[in-house]
């Protein structure tokens, strides 16, 4: 299949964006904000909740919003009639593409609901002098369910994206049981890469006294785990599609029972839509090198850097950004290969 730039950007960027929003939603549902009861009067009578919001929440929200939106806008570039894109929301009963569109828009609801936190606090803080204490209206009790819904919707949306491709039976390399878990894991992987890089910015995490909760170490361990899981998954996927039998002209035409079938004259002298869109052979020619680049840049590199950073905290900032840049590059190559390597059944009619 021809690897169209708009679709590669759509799947990589929106996948990474949903990964970022997933770690944001998961973090909000489980760790942030950390609210503690304070007794400012000192006699235990009056109780206030004091919540602290790590700056990472804002970073993840903004980066996730940018990636998701850039990805979705990029997908419009593939359409012949982009102004009619709204029509794609109508057929969610049967079409995974439609479901993906609906899920993508619904995911903005919990994401935008998170904006209520800074907005309400700004409203409350109006007229207060800097440093004045106030009790926020939206403590963790509200943020936790919003975070959980956001994380869930990210999983649903990426699941639908994967099914757009894995539901297409004529493309063997997409109609494969590795594809959906691959899309989900790759999104989480990208989300962790962005989270790691963003966590090196100032005030990313709240400094707290409780040493049992250490987001950085948990994140690095998880990143090493997704790297390892993806190496295994992609290797198994590539082995599977390489071994899959390839239909030829005899099978496509149903003439194989008569003998060996080979095309001696094509229906047209020039390229047509089918041969142009579905007869892309470049990637299959260079598959080995490109797969090595994917494994090295997208998975092994970030995984090794994460393990090194666990052992040597001093290199964390450099390692984080190197892992992000290399990892995203590797993910683009991975997605380019996913499209470019896939062979469409119709090419069998052309005897290619």
């Amino acid at each position: 299949m021809r690897p169209t730039f708009s679709i590669i950007c759509f799947t990589v960027l929106s996948g990474a964006g949903y990964g970022v929003w997933f770690v944001l939603g998961f973090g909000l549902a489980t760790l942030w904000p950390r609210c503690v009861a304070t007794h400012p009067l000192g006699d235990g009578s009056g109780m206030f909740m004091q919540c602290s919001y790590p700056a990472l929440i804002t970073h993840l929200f903004v980066v996730g919003f940018g990636l998701v939106t850039a990805g979705l806008v990029s997908s419009l570039g593939h359409l012949g009639k982009p102004l009619r894109a709204w029509r794609a929301l109508s057929q969610w009963r049967s079409s995974w593409l439609s479901r993906e569109g609906v899920a993508a828009l619904l995911t903005y609801v919990p994401a935008i609901a998170l904006l209520a936190v800074p907005l309400s606090q700004a409203w409350q803080a109006r007229g207060l002098a800097p440093g004045d204490a106030f009790v926020p209206w939206l403590p963790d009790a509200i943020l936790r369910p919003i975070g959980a819904v956001l994380a869930l919707m990210c999983v649903v949306t990426v699941y639908c994206t994967a099914h757009i491709y894995s539901s297409l039976k004529p493309i063997r390399a997409w109609h494969d049981r590795h594809v959906t878990p691959g899309y989900l894991l790759l999104a989480l992987h990208a989300g962790l890469l962005w989270m790691w890089a963003l966590s090196t910015l100032p005030h990313a995490f709240v400094v707290r006294n409780d040493p049992r909760v250490n987001e950085t170490d948990a994140m690095l361990l998880l990143l090493a785990l997704t790297s390892l899981a993806l190496v295994v998954l992609k290797w198994s996927y590539w082995r599977g599609i390489d071994a899959a039998p390839r239909a030829g002209a005899g099978h496509a035409t149903g003439l194989e029972s008569l003998g060996d079938v080979h095309a001696f004259e094509a229906p047209h002298t020039e390229e047509n839509y089918l041969t142009h869109e579905m007869g892309f052979v470049l990637a299959r020619k260079h598959a080995r090198d490109l797969r090595a680049i994917t494994i090295l840049f997208a998975f092994v590199g970030p995984g090794v850097l994460a393990m090194l950073a666990l052992a040597l905290p001093s290199i964390r900032i450099f390692a984080a950004w190197a892992a992000l840049v290399g990892g995203m590059l590797g993910l683009f190559v991975e997605r380019w290969l996913f499209f470019a390597q896939a062979r469409h059944t119709v090419i069998a009619f052309y005897g290619r």
């Binding site: 299949m1 593939h78 359409l79 012949g80 009639k81 982009p82 009619r84 894109a85 029509r87 794609a88 929301l89 109508s90 057929q91 009963r93 049967s94 079409s95 995974w96 593409l97 439609s98 569109g101 757009i164 539901s167 297409l168 039976k169 004529p170 493309i171 239909a247 002209a249 005899g250 099978h251 496509a252 035409t253 149903g254 003439l255 008569l258 003998g259 060996d260 079938v261 080979h262 095309a263 001696f264 004259e265 094509a266 229906p267 047209h268 020039e270 390229e271 047509n272 839509y273 089918l274 869109e277 579905m278 469409h344 059944t345 119709v346 009619f349 052309y350 005897g351």
Partner: protein, 253 residues
């Protein structure tokens, strides 16, 4: 709606005879011509008279050499193979459509694209293993065989002309049009009689169109003796007229 309609009794479709098709491309040209000017047209081309013309055709005729292995060795047979939309009973090109532009008619099973709803996402073309759909870059929407729905029900046409343009144009009558849902229809009987088959049934899209396989070729080697050496001709000299009898005797000396 891109959910499929309940299975209809009427299944209009084509039966293509691979035995008689001569690969003349008349069906493809007639199809292109009708659909460029019919209710669904035009079918614009890019660079039509230039060095690299390209454009949408609903019908593409492939030519194959089939190498058979017989008792007397290998021999080749030419099979011309017209390929077009098969108007499947459970087509994935319809269910994957996000907009409802791709649909299957409940009344006769024809698969069509609503040009006013299509966003040109091409997912339907990807979902079709038969290559039935081609996008028009000029129109930005997906194009496909309409089974000449604007001919077969067209009351302004003479009843004899109410058949798809490809069927009307075929000089060897290799293309047949009719109701494949009716077991008593002439083309259903033709399929039963000739062992008509569906393409790539493993996808379970249940193509309505059927292909009739080439009839077995007569084997020119059948009369040859099994010894391999040609038999010597015999001549009964006594039956010859006098002059020739003398000539034969003189030459045989």
């Amino acid at each position: 709606m891109t959910t499929l309609p309940p299975p209809a009794a009427k299944k209009l479709g084509l039966v293509i005879d691979l035995d008689t098709c001569v690969g003349c491309h008349a069906c493809a040209v007639a199809c292109k011509e009708w659909n460029d000017g019919g209710d669904f047209g035009p079918l614009p081309d890019s660079d039509p008279y230039g060095a690299h013309p390209s454009g949408v055709w609903f019908n593409r005729v492939h030519s194959y050499a089939v190498e058979e292995t017989t008792a007397h060795g290998k021999r080749e047979m030419t099979v011309h193979f017209p390929r077009s939309c098969l108007h499947c009973e459970t087509p994935a090109c319809v269910t994957v459509c996000p907009t409802g532009a791709s649909y299957k008619r409940a009344e006769d099973g024809i698969v069509l694209v609503d040009e006013d709803k299509c966003i040109g996402c091409q997912l339907c073309a990807w979902a079709c293993p038969y290559g039935a759909r081609e996008i028009s870059p000029q129109r930005g929407t997906m194009q496909k065989c309409t089974l000449c729905v604007d001919r077969i029900y067209n009351e302004t046409l003479d009843p004899a002309d109410r058949q798809p343009a490809c069927v009307a144009a075929c000089p060897t009558r290799a293309r047949h049009f009719g109701d494949l849902g009716d077991a008593e229809s002439p083309i259903s009987k033709l399929v039963a009689e000739r062992g008509g088959y569906a393409l790539m049934p493993e996808f379970d899209y249940k193509p309505v169109n059927k292909y009739l396989p080439p009839r077995p070729r007569r084997d020119g080697c059948d009369a040859a003796p099994s010894s391999g050496m040609p038999r010597e001709e015999t001549l009964d000299r006594d039956k010859l007229p006098g002059v020739l009898r003398w000539l034969d005797r003189a030459l045989s000396r």
